[in-house]
């Protein structure tokens, strides 16, 4: 298994009480996309690596995420992973934004 931590992350998130229901990714305006791209590269990057190849947190490249639906990834982003350093970004990010990030991560995140 190439990435046990991601699978663990996903399972623990799915087992959590809060399952967020979401529709498909909305298109965000350009400045929001720029802000989110910067946030993911720089701030998520402090644990997952700026190139998203992983660090203290697991890697987030398309090959690492191909087993997972965007909705599940967005839930992890919003709810975090209890007992692990992954924090809940609820309050910092809307559902639409989390879903946009998840979707882009699966496709290959913009620079």
């Amino acid at each position: 298994m190439q990435c046990p931590s991601i699978i663990w992350l996903l399972l623990s998130s799915l087992m959590g009480a809060c399952i967020v229901t979401m529709t498909s990714a909305l298109a965000l305006d350009e400045s929001a996309e720029r802000r989110l791209t910067h946030l993911v590269r720089q701030d998520c990057g402090s644990c997952h690596g700026m190139t998203l190849k992983g660090g203290l947190g697991g890697p987030l490249l398309p090959k690492d995420l191909k087993e997972f639906e965007s909705e599940s990834i967005a839930s992890i982003i919003l709810d975090g992973v209890p007992g692990k350093p992954m924090p809940p970004w609820q309050g910092q990010l809307s559902k639409e934004e989390a879903l946009w990030i998840a979707d882009k991560l699966k496709k290959g995140f913009p620079q």
Binding site: H38, R41, Q42, D43, G45, S46, C47, G49, M50, T51, K53, G54, G55, L56, G80, G83, K84, P85, P87, P88, W89, Q92
Partner: protein, 397 residues
Amino acid sequence: MKRREFLKASALGTAAAALVSPAAACPGELRGTGDLAVIIERASGSVMIVDTTAHETLHRVEGFGDLSHASAVYSRDERYAYIFGRDGGLTKLDILEGVITKRILQAGNAIGGAISDDGKLVAVSNYKPGGVRVFDANTLEPVADIPATFENDKRSKTVGLVDAPGRRFIFTLYDAGEIWIADFSSGSKPQLTRFMDIGDLPYDALITGDGRHYIAGLFGEDGLTHIDLWADEPAPRRILSGYGRGEKKLPVYKMPHLEGWAEGGGHFLLPAVGRHELLVMDAGTFKEAGRIAVHGQPVFAVARPDGRQAWVNFAHPLNDTIQVVDIPSLKIIHEFKPGPAALHMEFSPRGHEVWLSVRDSNEVHVYDTSSFRKLAVLKAQSPSGIFMTARAHRIGL
């Protein structure tokens, strides 16, 4: 003198000058390196070499790979910086000439390194494959590989790698909850000492400037783990257990760093994980001696070298602010907003200035630590870590 002889003589002269004068700025001009620093430009894989007296950039050197969370240590002569990249890159940089002397990719994913007290070994802390690799500081040829194995065949990420007196390296196993000492005093084959059950998810560690105390911060528990390396039989013990007193942690958007923690006036100041607080610890008893409410979740709490002040920066989304604590009174005496993502601070060796990376404005600021006046602004691309050459002569840096 005939023309041919003249040419020969001047060629020899140039060669001799080159031998004795490695200065960077102008050929023939000698200079020391004691007031130089390197600044990591995390997004572009480049490094700036700056003159901290003139507040000037001397060189920008490219080709360091992925420098997110990069750090540096120095050779004893302060001529070479060893830059540790996220991608496992270990690069030896000649800061006088502004050129890369040697570069290797020693692992897939790394988190910093250390240099031995004799300056001969450079060790790198790796996430993938989990462990520590040690190289000859001169040639970067491999000397030792220390896989961080636990529970039979699992490999742990390593954090908190420091040098310790006696040609030793100490590091912490994040996944395994262990601390290891690798003793190279008898040569290139290390003697390993393992301390088990040191706590849940140790995320970083430090060694005090006297080389006596190694302390690991725990993410999975309220508390830290301390080893007194001067004890006859060093052993880990929990300190500041339950500092959160069972209260729920706030979400942690950036892990605190322990390197460069603040020690002064008989106190240590430590960032509390998931709290808008600094913990004050008595440096003699290692018991809690108070708390200081601060602006956000602290990332770095760094003491000015005289121990009079600690400067504190904060995690996202409050990372645009710096607070200064007067250590004798434990009061906040100054607060300012240098701009978004004020990531890293480095004091001049005697503390008259502090250098500060403001990542999102692509600037490095220099402040006077007495008047808090801004003295200079240098342009940089997404600057993060700042490392002055005086680190060459300090334990644990």
